[in-house]
């Protein structure tokens, strides 16, 4: 009888552990993309230059503006690597509680800086469905990228966003991506 009770107790405990594992443990989010992002980040963080200040702009959907956030970054030598660093920092998200402009599933497929100051940014299409759809939200995402790139890499004058290597109509149904975006300081709010 005792043996039977012991078996039942062990079974119940195992069932509880199993249930927690199945129902309550969060599934890894886009594991491959996260791993790739972290890998790129680690590679870029290996830059040996001293830590310098970086200015990032994160969306605040509440106010419909971009919020400035300063951060220490060991900048890479090349501008294109710096562009990657900025984008990875945006993907990582704000440390002051602002919204994340690009989802963690975003893969940076390529970055390129033309001699005339046009930065080409090619992101993976897996990220697109995770971008909050809407006029306000998509515009804040676009200008979060554009203003952050221009603020940290003086050579960047305008930005062209590609998705999966292609020119696309919109980010997620609203923001017009057909053109070249110039930084728009009017979207930044420094007020607390």
């Amino acid at each position: 009888m005792l043996i039977l009770l012991a078996i039942l107790a062990v079974g119940a405990f195992y069932l509880r552990v199993l249930t927690r594992r199945v129902f309550f443990q969060p599934a890894p989010e886009h594991g491959e993309e996260v791993a790739r992002t972290r890998l790129s980040e680690a590679a870029l963080q290996s830059a040996t230059s001293p830590q310098q200040s970086a200015t990032l702009y994160f969306p605040s959907f509440e106010q419909g503006v971009l919020r400035e956030e300063k951060r220490s970054v060991a900048w890479a030598e090349a501008d294109t690597d710096r562009m990657r660093q900025v984008l990875l920092a945006l993907i990582e998200g704000s440390r002051q509680g602002y919204s994340r402009p690009l989802p963690t599933s975003t893969g940076i497929r390529a970055v390129f800086l033309a001699p005339d100051g046009t930065a080409f940014l090619d992101i993976s299409n897996q990220a697109i469905p995770d971008v909050d759809p809407g006029i306000a939200s998509e515009c804040l995402v676009v200008y979060s990228i554009v203003n952050s790139l221009a603020a940290n890499i003086p050579a960047v004058k305008k930005v062209k966003i590609l998705v999966q290597g292609q020119e696309v109509d919109t980010l997620n149904g609203h923001a017009d991506l057909s053109g070249y975006f110039v930084p728009d300081p009017a979207r930044i709010s420094l007020a607390p």
Binding site: E62, Q63, G64, D132, P133, G134, I135, S137, G179, F181
Partner: protein, 505 residues
């Protein structure tokens, strides 16, 4: 039989019959009528179409259940009791009760908007059965625009069309642009012209187009008998009608002309009342000569309403499952009603029904009508304060440089830059809307914004986007689906257009 009795029978019998008939007539006249009128409902399937009579009971539309089920599948068995019905439909079991809104479909209990009825032994279900229950009975895609009398089931790709009316030197020209090729044949009856549009299913953007025009008063789409057709009502009698197809069948040009002045020789009988042949005298190019009927009122200005997203593109969604595509369709329906109530505008919708239209299709539908204003409706993340409304006019990703402004004025403007022509008016319209929204109680608003909204870029008219929020997975959308909020928005839009129109005229 004595003569008195004979006399009584001779005169009293017919009078009794007459009295009885009068009583029956009065009873029928004052009997509480349930079925006030009946229309048809058309079911379009990939290879067939079925027309089912629609009953209207207490101002609600009802469909006979068994014929509807037999259109989409096969009723295998049914068990009818005194006030309940059980149906075996493929692997699905459906159970309904008279005067009950609940329908049991297998284990699911679904609620209809109106109760099930059974007049004269026939089981009738309200039309919302098509959206509530039917999707559970078939795996085919169902496309149904609430309020219309047609449904598309399965791989049916209905064509649509837009209508434009231009005045010519001696009449008017109707231009109907179809989204795909059609064939036509014409007929005339009761002083109207009928244009039968072939066998392809048609889903009209607007059912009826009314004009204040000396030649055409109305163009109405009708498919109540299963045959899609346009019915043109001339404003006066004695006009000639010359329809022709262009662009391989994608454009219908119909000239409505005054009969030529009587010539000395030709007999009047040779002048056709209805003709499918091209006119003997080709009409001059529009706008070259003076407009006839100068005393006639000009046609009403057009306002285009664009409900964003549709079909597989659901847009944003709320925590309670409300989809942006449905929310903005509701909003557009209310704005449309508010604008029509002013009797100052014709309203054109870019999207009717749950269809996903490309930006180019929306632009074509809008630009063909040369609208006075274009309003695109969206819902999205506007922060935690809800309900909130923000109005946008277009802002190019790159502002024009000084070199651009020094360029000579272009004769032809690329469609991608047509917004430039109306930029200032678009800003004024956005301002007028924002001013009216700011007056609404318990609705937060913001100053008008400028943003690179793709849907506004190629609109050849003052164009704005109106975004309501917040619609995100973290927030319930109850404030946005509230009918009072939606009606406030609709009334504000009508008032803003009126104010803006006054300002610009």
């Amino acid at each position: 039989m004595n003569p008195l009795t004979r006399l009584f029978r001779r005169f009293a019998w017919p009078s009794r019959v007459l009295t009885l008939a009068s009583l029956i007539g009065l009873a029928l006249l004052f009997w509480p009528a349930r079925a006030l009128r009946s229309d048809n409902f058309v079911f379009y399937l990939p290879t067939t179409r079925s027309v089912i009579a629609l009953e209207v009971i207490e101002q609600n539309k009802y469909l006979p259940l068994i014929p509807v089920l037999n259109v989409v599948g096969k009723v295998e068995a049914l068990q009818e009791k005194r006030d309940s019905l059980k149906i075996w439909f493929g692997k699905t079991q459906i159970e309904l009760r008279v005067d009950d809104k609940k329908v049991q479909v297998n284990k699911a209990r679904l609620n209809l908007a109106q109760p099930v009825r059974r007049p004269k032994g026939q089981w009738l279900v309200p039309v919302d059965f098509l959206t509530t229950v039917l999707p559970r009975l078939t795996s085919e895609t169902i496309e149904y625009q609430v309020g219309t009398n047609r449904i598309f089931i399965g791989d049916v790709k209905p064509i649509s069309f837009t209508v434009r009316l231009d005045q010519t030197a001696n009449g008017a020209r109707v231009t109907v642009q179809f989204t795909d090729k059609v064939t036509i044949h014409t007929a005339a009856s009761n002083g109207k012209w009928y244009l039968f549009l072939g066998t392809r299913p048609v889903e009209p953007l607007e059912q009826t187009f009314r004009f204040q025009d000396p030649y055409i008063s109305e163009i109405r789409f009708d498919d109540q008998d299963g045959s899609p057709k346009l019915i043109l009502t001339p404003a006066v009698g004695g006009l000639n009608f010359y329809p022709t197809l262009a662009e391989g069948g994608k454009i219908l040009l119909a000239d409505v002309l005054k009969p030529p002045p009587p010539a000395p020789q030709p007999p009047a009988s040779e002048q056709p009342l209805t003709a499918t042949a091209p006119p003997t005298v080709p009409p001059p190019a529009p706008g070259v000569e003076e407009v006839p009927g100068a005393q006639a009122e000009p046609p009403l200005p057009v306002v285009v309403l664009d409900a964003a997203h549709g079909g597989a593109d659901v847009g944003a969604h709320g925590r309670d499952g409300v989809l942006e595509k449905d929310l903005v369709a509701q909003l557009v329906a209310r704005v449309r009603a508010a604008l029509l109530a002013t009797r100052r505008y014709r309203v054109v919708l870019t999207r009717v029904g749950d269809v996903n239209l490309a930006f180019e299709q929306r632009e074509t539908a809008a630009n063909l009508h040369r609208p006075r204003a274009f309003l695109s409706f969206h819902a999205g993340n506007l922060g935690m304060v809800t309900p909130r409304v923000v109005v946008y006019s277009y802002q190019a990703p790159s502002p024009p440089t000084s070199a651009d402004s020094q360029q000579p004025r272009q004769l032809l403007i690329p469609w991608t830059q047509v917004y430039r022509v109306h930029l200032e008016q678009s800003r004024q319209l956005a301002q007028a809307l924002q001013e009216k929204f700011a007056l609404l109680s318990q609705v937060a608003t913001d100053k008008p914004h400028e943003a690179p909204v793709r849907g506004l870029r190629s609109i050849d008219a003052p164009a704005v986007a109106i975004e309501v929020g917040t619609l995100t997975p973290d927030v319930d959308s109850g404030a946005l689906t509230d009918s009072n909020f939606q009606q406030q928005i609709a009334n504000a839009v009508a008032a803003a257009l009126e104010a803006w129109r006054g300002g610009t005229s």
